[in-house]
Symmetry: C2
Subunit: 94 residues, 2 copies
């Protein structure tokens, strides 16, 4: 599968299959802490000049967002479709 064929649903499902047991046991508060740690690492990478690290931190933030969604029964693809791809979407700055 090429990167351009990767659906949001498939990636969220992959994170579910691979990590749900431990994610679910950790719970939302503990998982949010991990998520924020990755957000902090993304901030650090954004003002650095290591492109490979920057890409990895973006990937990690998205993976942890999928984890948070999984343990809260949220379908990310459905959520973004409803908010951003229905009608004309939010105007201006989202």
């Amino acid at each position: 599968m090429s990167k351009d064929e990767l659906t949001l649903a498939a990636f969220q499902r992959h994170i579910h299959e691979r990590y749900y047991a431990s994610d679910s046991a950790r719970g939302t508060a503990g998982t949010f802490l991990w998520f924020i740690e990755e957000v902090g690492e993304l901030a650090t990478a954004l003002h650095g000049d290591d492109r490979a690290n920057l890409e990895e931190e973006f990937a990690d933030v998205l993976a942890w967002l999928c984890t948070l969604a999984n343990i809260n029964d949220v379908d990310l693809a459905a959520a973004v479709k409803r908010k951003y791809l229905t009608g004309s979407g939010p105007a201006g700055h989202k």
Copy 2:
């Protein structure tokens, strides 16, 4: 297009087409501030009981992550494919 057909690349491209001009003018630091505001709203929604709002906040965080990626020339699908879908992916807790 069904929600399950939505590719990560298509969603990032949609955010690009719809908002890149203003996102780019705002720059990374200002955009990170918006991103974090949405992360805060997600935290609030996670301990509330409004499901529609929770889904919307997940969508907003993902949209702002796409924005940050767009203005930093990062291809999110390529980044997650490299880190999470190549070989066996990171073990344990990512």
